[in-house]
Symmetry: C2
Subunit: 516 residues, 2 copies
Amino acid sequence: MTTPTVWNELDARLREIARLKSIGTLLGWDQETMMPPRAAEFRAEELALVATLAHDRIIDPRLTESVAACEADPELGAEDARRADLREIRRDIERAAKLPSDLVRELSETSSRALEAWKRARAESDFEAFRPWLERQVGLARRKAACLGAPEGGEGYDALLDEFEPGMRASGVERLFAPLRDALVRLIRSVREAGDGPSKAPCRVAVPVERQRELNRFVAAAVGFDFDAGRLDVSTHPFTEGVAPGDTRITTRYRDDEFLDALGSTLHEVGHGLYEQGLPKDRLAGHPLAEAASLGIHESQSRLWENQVGRSRAFWAWAAPHVRRLLSGAAAGLEADALHAAVNVVEPGPIRVESDEVTYNLHIMLRFDLERAMLRGDLAVADLPGAWNDRVRGDLGLEVADDRRGCLQDIHWSMGAIGYFPTYTLGNLYAAQLWEAARDANPDLEDGIAHGEFAPLLRWLREHVHAHGRRYPAAELCRRITRRALDHAPLVAYLESKVEAFYGPGSGPRSNTARR
Amino acid sequence: MTTPTVWNELDARLREIARLKSIGTLLGWDQETMMPPRAAEFRAEELALVATLAHDRIIDPRLTESVAACEADPELGAEDARRADLREIRRDIERAAKLPSDLVRELSETSSRALEAWKRARAESDFEAFRPWLERQVGLARRKAACLGAPEGGEGYDALLDEFEPGMRASGVERLFAPLRDALVRLIRSVREAGDGPSKAPCRVAVPVERQRELNRFVAAAVGFDFDAGRLDVSTHPFTEGVAPGDTRITTRYRDDEFLDALGSTLHEVGHGLYEQGLPKDRLAGHPLAEAASLGIHESQSRLWENQVGRSRAFWAWAAPHVRRLLSGAAAGLEADALHAAVNVVEPGPIRVESDEVTYNLHIMLRFDLERAMLRGDLAVADLPGAWNDRVRGDLGLEVADDRRGCLQDIHWSMGAIGYFPTYTLGNLYAAQLWEAARDANPDLEDGIAHGEFAPLLRWLREHVHAHGRRYPAAELCRRITRRALDHAPLVAYLESKVEAFYGPGSGPRSNTARR
């Protein structure tokens, strides 16, 4: 079939929007990794300009006409993938049309400035300096939610969540989180009762950052990250940006006394990066079919590589010799078992991004509840630190030493990203469910990983997740691949088996003590 | 005086254009320093889009109306600086209006793609792979020159040169270059006849790049480069970009066996960077008063720091202990005299950016003549390598080993920058003349430099050069500061004294041999 002219017209419009979005993404990446501090103010103006230019083109009536012409075309209508593409373009246009250009500019400018304010406030653990910015962001989020409108029977939060996880609602998140929370509380109790367990100590060796950099690049390339179409840099808060076709950038952060943290962080971002590199952007830049299905699905990719792969015995069987070879020095004696144990320690801590697989989700639930309460007006921004600290005490049994390690630790709210946090735990749920399906489809998956064969897993993810972009809504994608709706059971089963292995009777270091 | 509303309107329009240009500059910087190779194609589209968006806003009739309203305002008319600003805005609009948007897009896209082609061709020393791109660039340059129109009594080349060095013509370049060329030929003959002279050998020690990086950052900061408003990175071809207000980025390149090359390169770019950081961009982003007077003046700033400062005995008296401290190892024994001698070796070589102060200008004259001949059609692009090699043989007495070290060595033509090269030697001429004026005004300048006091020189440059932006055309700026028109005499005198000191009778290492 020849491509109809109307499709080419639509394609050209979307590609121009993609250029503008890509420029915005690069400006944001640069702001976090390279930009000198004095450039922040002008950068805020640039980001706002690009956001407005892109927005103007999305709500341009000629784009809608272009979509309508394609919808009316008999050839295009016969093709499922293009119909899905058109459906999603309509969704984007309708969503954008609800936001006035002035609000788009204000959201962008405020985010850039609040981000700089957050950086300073966090460095000095000064919540009061950040409070007015967070108040502005919560106010803007309310305005945005009001413009977008709550779905039938839903709440304002849903309108925001829908940007990150299309189709999901706060009530749906609650339904998924409640049984998960019960299981997590139970698991943490049994870890606490077990008393001792695996230890990070043997792996807490001093390793110069330069050597760690080599190891991280080696592992990223080994699992499949394409450095001809990507980069690995350093930033305070690790992140991934799909900058453009052929340009996916991930970041990590190094500490010279915790090389496993950086490696875990890199594997996480590599997971995101592989998804970005697997989307069909070369053919379809600017089309929803070349964009991630949802942030939850995005997070499932990062979590799967970080946890299901990166915290498995098989992975360390392969990785341990490379760790010894590339880090040498104090790391020269580390065996696979010690590495595997160190990354599976369960121990409540104040910092989300440093937390283990089990307690991590409690950090997310806390943020979900507090941001929802702030948006509703049930929690005043001024009361956030107190509410945060109470919740950490209740959920994790910890006292928060200062706001830097409390409510100022995350970048998200500074950027106005309210409704984003739940996608992390949704990602963990998707990851566990996808991992079960991948293992069912490839019984030799873990044996291969133990020999450094990551390609079968990547191929499976490419085929079942990456290639589709936004063709299927996240919930449907999950059902298509796993033959069931998303639920808590696979993640709970996965975490239970981990806790059992490391903290249950007969587990490694405590095999001589019969306590339970 | 209160600022008239018409001025604020103009200011808002210029600031938006500045944002777009700044975005284009960042995209270009990223392309040269960070971008993964597979992103090149999409980047070309982004750069072309941004160039077109900026161009559209420059030729927008509302900008011209805004300028006219300011010109008609009695308060603004009373102020010299604002009148100059308006004059230069008109110049930019008139120049832009002569270029159709399609040509602007084609120039931008071709430059990005030809740049990538040049990178590959240069790496493989494959002129034939680059030839079609250079032919396209020469063709586009002719079209551009035809659109712009030659000045009264001038030639097409003048229209291009005028972009980089406003007001200068090829015939004026010839008049300045002819006596300089005679002097250079004479100086090179006397160097050759002197037989021996200073040596680079004692300073050709192995120094790890990481250490060099520290030294380069230290020196850049010491002479006044503000790292809160700038960066220093690595690129194949060192360059400086004034990305935005508060954001000036310089690059250098390191070899572990030639630390003086990187340091000289850094000082050169720092000179450019100090100019960018000294322009009043915070107040006047987008205004000509916050832009460099010309590329020749820009180059005078880089040359002055690289040569008049960085190749002086005073500089090395200060720098030598820091070199020993920061590089240590094999550099631990280097004294000021040895360093000073090494950077003053005069020796014809094939590579422009590695050449000494004397032969450098012959490299420029060669490029000026050849690009002018290509533009006129007197030299076919296919004949360039032969013409290049003949000229290197004649001027420098060298055989060109391959095109990588011949006509493919420079980035400029790939980016369509024809008419750019002469500004390098104009910069050397301006630098020598400005340096004389700076020393006349501050007799203690060099004594201070020997003690690491660079601030008096920087202050003088800020006041006399940087602060004015484009207020005065380059030729007038030179006359105002030095009380005479630009001519070859100060540079010739400066180079003669250098050659006399290092290669004349009684000079350093040959003081025992009486040969002449």
